[in-house]
Point group: C2
Chain length 112, copies 2
């Protein structure tokens, strides 16, 4: 059997694996909220991100920031001090999520 | 302290709880894929949904379909037989997710 391209799968009525991956990536607990907060107010320090998101713990925020950085959605900049300041911001890949998040925001406001 | 509206929170740089809820809802494992498959080819029978999504088990599909139905995103129709036929399709609320999913699909194809 030949490997299927995304388009062939899509035509065949299957689900697109890239979309599947994207949807589960931004849907991980707190990921959407972190991206949203950075989009509005980035660059932000770690403590400012935690403060902006009620319910988000330091531990989970740190886990998510590492994932987002590894994925290329967020970049971490160290400004040498003193005092040293570490800031996080969206990369172009992260900013490119805006149309999806804004469509989802509109949906949420209409339907939830 | 007065309860904050979404907009006040958003202005204050917090994350919008509705967006947060929406993003985590569609990000639940397999949810995006199921919505996508129904959007393309719905109405579908349970077995057709499972078949269209490689890796999705009967058990998880059944769990997700119940959640999607409870949330109002999917509706289940029983066509009295014989043979009885049960079909699933997106509701208007489910179809309204299309702009978000299509923006996310575009992002995924460009960046993943």
């Amino acid at each position: 059997m030949e490997p299927q391209t995304d388009e062939a799968r899509s035509r065949a009525g299957g689900c697109c694996p890239h979309l599947h991956e994207a949807v589960e990536f931004i849907g991980r607990r707190w990921t959407g909220a972190i991206i949203e907060v950075l989009r509005q107010d980035g660059p932000l320090r770690f403590s400012e991100i935690v403060q902006a998101i009620p319910g988000l713990s330091d531990r989970l925020c740190s886990e998510r920031m590492k994932e987002l950085e590894a994925r290329g959605v967020v970049e971490r900049t160290v400004h040498p001090g003193p005092p040293v300041r570490v800031e996080y911001d969206l990369t172009p890949m992260g900013r490119a999520l805006e149309p999806s998040l804004s469509a989802l925001r509109a949906w949420a406001h209409e339907w939830l």
